[in-house]
């Protein structure tokens, strides 16, 4: 709508689209919930062999070294065909962090298995007592010679029960003031003795995340990333990029199509009151596209986004929820059906999609936290 492909980009788009049509197994298309590793990782590895698993990684680390526009095209084509969400903690989080902050030995050990899809990573940030107030985290890592002893608990850890490694924020100085000055960034082998992992079932019925218990777990000191007590800065260094990628309007556009299909099937599409709400929602998707295109333009021209990225996260995530609210309204009496609804226009996944959408305003910093960030750092309102 706003961004137009250059001829070379259009060619890439067609190439990706054609290849996906030929290579993505039908059983993996249009899944609302991420399939388990046994089903998903072969697809990850297929993408890896094609060389498309890490468009945003530099070539020297096995990535595509793609431009931002090329990355967006691949994201959009994956979304368009209904490709399943891959585990991204390695590709989008620890990978780029290691490239920026790790030693050569750490990079050599950990980056290739992420590209190959032979190791799955989990992010160990949140704790039972440290959610939005992450800096209050208390999982303790005590340095003892050439090793850390880790004791504590992480929670809301996506795919921990399927993961091999965790990158974790741990407290290395309990006395530090401010509190975030006593936090370090540690890589933990989840197969180590003393670790117990318990999956947590969500309201959407899946077990996407888990809690992880550390009972005096030994971690080699060489697994520290960056300097001791410098973990907070490292964890926050790459957040802007992540928030940009989550505001891609492709997902909202697809949600809009689901609403229209459901509304035609249920007949509510003829109701002028519903039409008005559908128009408002559709116009908001246009606004999200404009914001995304604006942010991409700035990023491409080296104008950094910074804390303003919180704004696109708020707008994009709240819009996705609003769209899913419209979806269950369009579904009428079918709203609470557990399985996808069969219609004359194809199957529509209603309840699972709606329930999944409740998480987007919570993870990655809740909407309320994003608003605090905006108020202080963009609007310069007082403390």
């Amino acid at each position: 709508m706003f961004r137009r492909d250059t001829p070379a980009e259009a060619e890439l788009r067609i190439e990706v689209r054609t290849w996906l049509e030929a290579n993505l197994p039908a059983a993996l298309r249009g899944r609302t919930v991420r399939p388990p590793p046994a089903e998903l990782m072969p697809w990850y590895q297929t993408l890896s062999r094609k060389g498309w698993i890490a468009p945003h990684w530099p070539r020297q680390y096995g990535g595509m070294g793609a431009t931002l526009n090329e990355q967006i095209i691949i994201t959009e084509e994956l979304a368009r065909i209904g490709a399943p969400h891959l585990p991204v903690q390695g590709l989008n989080h620890i990978g780029p962090i290691l490239m920026e902050f790790a030693t050569e030995a750490q990079k050599a050990k950990h980056l290739p298995p992420i590209i190959a899809g032979t190791v799955i990573w989990a992010q160990g940030y949140s704790e039972p007592g440290a959610g939005s107030d992450l800096a209050s985290l208390s999982t303790r890592a005590t340095l003892d010679g050439d090793r850390f002893i880790v004791k504590g608990q992480k929670i809301w850890t996506t795919w921990a029960h399927h993961s091999d490694w965790m990158f974790a924020l741990v407290r290395t100085d309990p006395q530090a003031q401010p509190r975030h000055a006593g936090i370090s960034f540690l890589l933990i082998d989840l197969h180590s003795p003393g670790i117990r992992i318990r999956p947590i079932k969500t309201i959407a019925g899946d077990d996407e995340f888990a809690e992880v218990f550390f009972d005096d777990v030994t971690v080699p000191a060489e697994n520290l990333v960056g300097k001791l007590h410098d973990g907070w800065r490292i964890a926050n260094a790459l957040l802007g990029h992540e928030r940009l990628s989550t505001s891609n309007p492709q997902f909202a556009l697809m949600a809009l199509e689901r609403i229209k299909t459901m509304a035609r099937a249920s007949g509510i599409i003829e109701d002028p009151a519903f039409q008005d709400r559908l128009a408002a929602a559709s116009i908001n998707v246009t606004a999200l596209s404009a914001m995304f295109s604006h942010a991409v333009e700035l990023t491409n021209n080296k104008q950094s986004l910074g804390p303003e990225a919180s704004m696109t996260k708020i707008f994009g995530s709240e819009l996705l929820q609003a769209l899913n609210e419209l979806l269950i309204e369009a579904a009428g009496g079918h709203a609470s059906a557990e399985n996808p609804i069969a219609t004359n226009f194809g199957e529509v996944d209603v309840a699972a999609s709606f329930l999944q959408s409740r998480r987007v305003t919570i993870y990655g910093g809740s909407s309320e936290i994003q608003r605090n960030v905006l108020a202080r750092r963009v609007l310069n309102l007082p403390n």
Binding site: M1, F2, R4, K260, I269, E270, Q275, D276, L278, A279, A280, S282, I283, N284, T286, A287, S289, A290, M291, S293, H294, A295, E297, L298, N301, Q303, L305, E308, M311, I314, F315, E368, R371, N372, L374, A375, R376, V378, L379, N380, L381, P382, N383
Partner: protein, 364 residues
């Protein structure tokens, strides 16, 4: 988010920002009590700066610039609550310039010596801008229009660009203010500007042919009007939010600056998100469309959102000011009133959404 501008575009924005220093709420307030709703000398000044011919090609003595430049100037006009009808003059000039030979009024309109404004609306709600009830009879050279147009910012106008139904669909006509059968009745609005109803009875008119790039002259001008007013609404809400944030930073209650209260901070961020969504919509649309063929669904979407957001933001500005915001003496109310006027022009948010259902094919 900042805009990505060329250095020429940044200069243009800065010179518009300088121009509005002589406008602002005090000046806008002054026009409420007067017969005229703007200063003709200031319109000529805008003409000298080239803004009234901003979209007009160099060959017709315009600046030959695009929608981004138009939006930059009008955003500033909105910020300054400028009363001079720069937006209507600039988009009318674009229409007057689009034929093989420009309309004779063009030169004076570009200079700000004469004023031509669009007269496209026919009712408060539910207009189909491409199916006007106003009729155009005869052919160019002997064209006559009959009908009624409403909600026109007609103050000081020497002529109008009227949409009418001709034999083969909607046509755009130029009607001189002093033409036979042309009558105006004016109503005061809540702010300095006035709105008028234009009655046309077998009134002679000139046909304004479409630009080669556009499907239809009425459609093109209407879409341009939607974007122009949206850019102005952006400026209005943006400035109103700034004024309000300033107040949150100095006003104390319970021994603290009220801007430190989370309830007010979150309200302010909601307003900020609305302003930013409008900014991205206006400027991404401007950057990706040509003046004479703006994507209609996009124009409608932008005006719907700008209208909704401008009202929501300026309403919240009153709330965050508390009782002082409800006084006539305080300037913040002027932004709400300008938002009330502009958001209703060429169809309010509800009217745009209704059109959007059709244009975007939502039910198809």
């Amino acid at each position: 988010m900042d805009l990505h501008l060329t250095s020429e575009q940044a200069l243009l924005r800065d010179s518009a920002a300088k121009f509005i220093e002589a406008s602002g709420p005090k000046v806008a307030r002054g026009f409420r009590a007067q017969g005229s709703s703007f200063a003709p000398a200031r319109l000529r000044e805008a003409g000298e700066l080239g803004w009234l011919g901003i979209l007009v090609p160099d060959s017709a003595a315009g600046l030959g610039l695009g929608l981004t430049e138009l939006a930059l100037v009008l955003q500033q006009a909105g910020r300054g609550l400028v009363c001079e009808p720069i937006e209507f003059a600039a988009i009318s000039a674009a229409a007057l310039a689009q034929g093989r030979t420009p309309h004779p009024m063009l030169e004076q309109v570009i200079a700000g010596a004469a004023l031509v404004v669009p007269a496209l609306q026919e009712s408060g709600y539910g207009d189909d801008p491409l199916a006007p009830r106003t009729k155009a009879m005869g052919t160019d050279g002997a064209l006559r229009v009959t009908g009624q147009k409403v909600f026109i910012c007609a103050d000081g106008a020497d002529g109008f660009l009227v949409s009418a139904s001709g034999r083969d669909g909607p046509v755009l006509c130029y009607v001189a203010r002093n033409a036979s059968g042309c009558a105006l009745s004016t109503t005061q609005t809540v702010e300095g500007r006035k709105l008028a109803t234009l009655s046309l009875a077998d009134t002679p008119a000139d046909l304004i042919p479409p630009h080669p790039a556009s499907r239809n002259a009425v459609d093109a001008l209407h879409n341009l009007a939607l974007l122009a007013v949206s850019a102005e609404l952006l400026g209005v809400m943006e400035r109103a939010l700034e004024v309000t944030l300033d107040y949150l930073r100095i006003r104390k209650q319970f021994g603290k600056l009220i801007g430190s209260f989370q309830a007010l901070q979150h309200q302010a961020t909601n307003m900020y998100v609305r302003v930013e969504a409008t900014r991205s919509l206006v400027f991404q649309t401007a950057a990706n469309n040509d003046p004479y063929c703006i994507d209609p669904a996009l124009a409608v979407a932008v005006k719907a959102k700008a209208s909704e957001n401008a009202l929501a933001v300026t309403e919240a500005c009153i709330q965050l000011h508390g009782a002082i915001g409800f006084t006539d003496e305080h300037d913040i109310g002027l932004y709400l009133k300008r938002a009330m006027l502009l958001s209703s022009l060429f169809g309010n948010a509800a009217a745009q959404r209704r059109r959007y259902v059709e244009i975007a094919g939502l039910t198809a």
